[in-house]
């Protein structure tokens, strides 16, 4: 099936099996490596991307479904500079250990802070509850998202 969609501000035209998971298409056919497969079943959040600005587990989205839609990954947000404050805050707060879950967490954090620039700690906990981290115990990730909110407010 031929589909076209916007990937990180670029138009993509691709001939793809429509039931191929978006995660596999991004990694194997489009060279997007920040999306990680931790479970392949929508359980861990390591493959979180934005589809039309909403966070989704890309392993659960058939490629055919993104036809005419907008897909944004860490690569796109990094080159546009939009996720810099979140990256800086994750680095500064010690929110990164093994790093495998990190891109997914940052996408969820970006989505949260876009809609809610000043979240409470409990709101942050809820917003990232679909992302599993086995290393950090979450405290420093939540610290990082609080700090990112502060960076963004200061930046504006």
């Amino acid at each position: 099936m031929k589909i076209n969609f916007i990937l990180n501000d670029n138009i993509v035209n691709i001939d793809i099996r429509p039931d191929k998971p978006l995660l596999r298409m991004l990694r194997e056919d489009l060279g997007i490596k920040s999306v990680k497969e931790g479970c392949g079943r929508g359980e861990c959040g390591s493959c979180t991307v934005l589809v039309d600005n909403k966070p989704v587990a890309s392993c659960m989205v058939p490629a055919g479904q993104v036809h005419t839609r907008k897909v944004t990954t860490l690569e796109g947000l990094e080159s546009s500079g939009e996720i810099k404050q979140i990256q800086d805050a994750f680095v500064k707060s010690g929110a990164v250990q093994c790093g495998f879950c990190t891109p997914g967490f940052m996408i969820s954090a970006y989505s949260l802070l876009t809609g809610n620039p000043n979240p409470e700690r409990e709101e942050i906990r809820a917003a990232v509850s679909g992302n599993v981290c086995r290393c950090t115990g979450y405290t420093k990730i939540i610290d990082a998202i609080e700090l990112a909110a502060e960076y963004i407010r200061r930046f504006k």
Partner: protein, 759 residues
């Protein structure tokens, strides 16, 4: 010689954080080779029996994309993946001993083709009776699985006279405690790539903790000599012990397929295959008995520790040994008798998991300490204070505790942090609060039973522009060791942190440095880096001294400002490097460290099993919903005497992460097996803590430096996982008045027991 003045910056960042937040860190699925094939594994459908044949083997060979099928008959070397013993076949020869055991391998052009070919396997088999429970496996008429009478290994401790000790006791408590499996659930599943080299050798890249174990396995299975094997660790997405033994199996499998096809072969497990096949934390049944005087002095401890090692022994002997060495707790007890058994059963093998046999043993003894305190009508903190190890105390193995024992300080600080005070189930209403406490100690490193591997190497090489490469043999898997090695090197050489680059471990670059396990990287790997950096630093001192017209002894290295100073003047680190190059000095050095002096008598269990101990105390508050049985951990203070924190944020991260793994272990991680088959091999079926299950763990770093560790540092990786579950169960008792003696302590267990109370 004047000591180097160290850099002190509290908020400095990890060396790998930047690349990881960019999404560009190369994990195993990001490593690709031209012409690469994908491997998949055909696994046993039964827990015990004889696989007569794969009946459709020829059909599988001809399936779309399939390039090779390999069975036990096709192994060029020995059919053994070597661990502590030589009992684990690379591929099942005919007899299979657990459901999911690897029987054959497929290589195909795509992952889907390989997996679909492996799934289509049809077997002709004869099923044997099986045994799944460790205690059942001890019975004389039990089916034989492995070892002698199903015992993978046995250890004991005999100190003093326990009968006399119990006679002297005014109060005796005894309990039997049970733990189920725990699964590591690192976010990155197991994976490797094997690449055949033109000279007949093989290179393996992979997510792993122990490149040198992988090297040993490849030599054994392929028959290629050591010099033809190269193993490189790739960025590893979590390990927690789960990537100690299993990568040797994957690497052997990928190597067999690569040698057969002469093409690179990648094997990455999906989450379900990872769950089914990889080694887990041992289920355990532990009986502990304490006797104490009415003043609260423990007079005797007796314990029996039985762990389910599964079908093959992998690391079970050392797990059983570490468990028994620590089972009486961090207390000075004159009379101790303890026996420890690792049993063979027809379940998936159990291996290493953070805590390594101490998690279960200390769960039992620390819950029982609470029962002892209650029976003595004594505060549990006070009871511990009267018995804990201090400098000059003797452990259960008769070892005298020397320097660096901050246990009492951890206990006081953890309790103070949450205003520890028992509630005694007095809370009215549906939600009841309770508090619990635990104390533990942890022998750092491999100890007497792992002495053969208790060594590490490193190379420090200063380049012409002053940048430094550090080659090491112990791996970064998220715990922060590369940052620690960076700091140790930079603070010794007196250069900026930014100048030092720590390379990925590669077995061709550094001598065998043992495994990355047992919380040993900072202490042992760190000493090797220190050794190498000191040698180069000595050269630089001579160069600087000569240039400045003083003796090397007069040079002070200031790592804060990266300067070599003396009363006559000073040079920057970079000027010194320049001068060293001008003079053609040797600007690289090999560092080496080996742990000495560990002893253990097999008959009596007496000796100095470890040279250094880390001490810990956990205090927590829980809230129990008595209608739903839901337990919420509301406060958790974890205090650890780690000698010296080399990198504070990483140390805190280890404490917080390990403690939250223990929350999962205590309250919800529930692996369900039926006739040896795992029924819930997924992150939905087996639930690890999410951000909503965790609480903000408060890390408390206590620093009683130890002379053996670099800058006084001891090990920290595992201790946060050891005493935490007991503290939580003790808090549940305090809230509800019900003693639970098992993990996971599920909401349904709590509701069931509470309903009995109200009848």
């Amino acid at each position: 010689m004047k000591e180097t003045k160290r850099v002190k910056r509290d908020s400095d960042i990890r060396v790998d954080a930047r690349i990881k937040v960019s999404g560009k860190a190369r994990f195993i699925e990001d490593v690709e080779f031209a012409n690469m094939l994908h491997g998949a594994t055909i696994r046993s459908p039964i827990p015990h029996g004889r696989i007569a044949s794969i009946v459709n083997l020829e059909k599988i060979r001809n399936m779309p994309g399939v390039r090779a099928v390999v069975t036990a008959n096709d192994i060029p070397g020995e059919n053994i993946v070597p661990f502590v013993k030589q009992d684990y076949p690379c591929l099942a020869p005919d007899e299979v001993k657990f459901h999911g055991q690897a029987v054959a391998l497929v290589a195909a052009e795509t992952v889907e083709e390989a997996r679909s070919a492996a799934r289509s396997a049809e077997f002709e088999y004869e099923e044997y009776p099986a045994v799944f429970d460790a205690v059942q496996a001890m019975k004389p008429d039990a089916v034989h699985v492995g070892g002698e009478d199903n015992v993978h290994s046995y250890f004991r401790i005999r100190k003093g006279d326990v009968d006399k000790g119990f006679r002297e006791a005014d109060v005796i408590v005894e309990g039997v405690f049970n733990n189920k499996h725990q699964v590591h659930c690192y976010l990155e599943n197991q994976g490797v790539v094997a690449v055949p080299e033109s000279g007949g050798g093989i290179s393996v890249y992979g997510s792993m903790q122990c490149p040198f174990y992988v090297q040993n396995a490849l030599v054994k299975v392929t028959g290629i000599r050591y010099s033809g094997i190269k193993v490189v660790q790739t960025v590893t997405g979590g390990g927690f012990g789960g990537k100690e033994d299993v990568p040797s199996i994957l690497a052997s499998h990928a190597a067999l397929l690569a040698l057969r096809t002469q093409r690179p072969v990648r094997i990455i497990y999906d989450r379900e295959e990872d769950f089914i096949s990889m080694s887990k934390r041992h289920p355990a049944r532990t009986r502990v008995k304490y006797g104490a005087t009415k003043e609260g002095k423990i007079t005797a401890c007796e314990a029996e520790y039985i762990v389910n090692g599964g079908a093959f022994c992998t690391l079970s002997p050392i797990v059983a040994w570490r468990g028994v060495v620590h089972i009486s707790g961090p207390y000075d007890i004159p009379n101790v008798k303890a026996d420890s058994y690792a049993m063979a059963t027809n379940t998936v093998p159990c291996g290493a998991f953070r805590g390594f046999g101490q998690t279960q043993a200390n769960f039992a003894n620390e819950c029982l300490m609470d029962e002892l305190a209650e029976k003595l009508d004594m505060d549990p903190v006070e009871l511990r204070k009267r018995n804990i190890l201090k400098t000059g105390s003797r452990t259960s193995t008769g070892q005298v505790i020397g320097e660096s024992c901050g246990l009492e300080e951890t206990l006081i600080k953890a309790a103070e942090k949450i205003n520890f005070k028992q509630h005694f189930g007095r809370d009215k209403g549906i939600r009841k609060k309770g508090m619990g406490i635990s104390t533990t100690f942890y022998g750092v490193g491999l100890g007497a039973e792992g002495e053969y591997f208790a060594k590490a190497g490193a190379q420090v090489y200063v380049k012409e522009d002053g940048s430094v490469i550090v080659a090491i043999g112990n791996v970064e898997m998220g715990q922060g060791s590369n940052t620690v090695f960076n700091r140790i090197c930079a603070d010794t050489l007196g250069c900026p942190y930014e100048s030092v680059e720590v390379l990925q471990p590669d077995t061709t670059r550094v001598p065998d440095s043992g495994p990355t396990v047992a919380s040993r990287s900072t202490m042992v790997g760190g000493r090797a880096v220190l050794d190498a950096a000191r040698q180069v630093c000595d050269t630089f001192r001579k160069v600087a001294a000569d240039k400045l017209g003083v003796k090397p002894f007069d040079i002070e290295v200031d790592a804060v400002d990266s300067r070599y100073r003396c009363s006559r003047g000073e040079m920057s680190y970079f000027e010194v490097v320049n001068e060293a190059y001008r003079r053609r000095e040797k600007v690289a050095a090999q560092g080496w460290y080996r742990v000495e002096g560990c002893t253990f008598d097999q008959e009596t269990g007496q000796g100095n099993p470890y040279s250094v101990y880390t001490y810990s105390a956990n205090a927590c508050e829980v809230e129990v919903d008595t209608e739903t049985g839901q337990v919420t951990v509301t406060k958790f203070a974890a205090a650890h005497d780690i000698g010296k924190a080399i990198h504070m944020i990483s140390a805190e991260g280890q404490i917080q992460g390990g403690t939250v793994q223990a929350i999962g272990y205590a309250l919800h991680e529930n692996l369900v097996l039926e006739n040896g088959r795992i029924l819930n091999p997924s992150l939905t079926g087996y639930t690890v803590p999410t951000s909503l299950d965790a609480c903000d763990v408060i890390p408390i770093i206590v620093e009683h430096p130890h002379g053996e560790g670099p800058f006084g540092a001891k090990g920290l990786g595992e201790p946060p996982m050891i005493g935490s579950a007991a503290a939580i169960l003790n808090a549940i008792y305090d809230a509800t008045g019900i003693r639970f003696r098992h993990t996971p302590c599920l909401p349904e267990d709590i509701v069931k027991e509470l309903s009995k109370l109200s009848i």
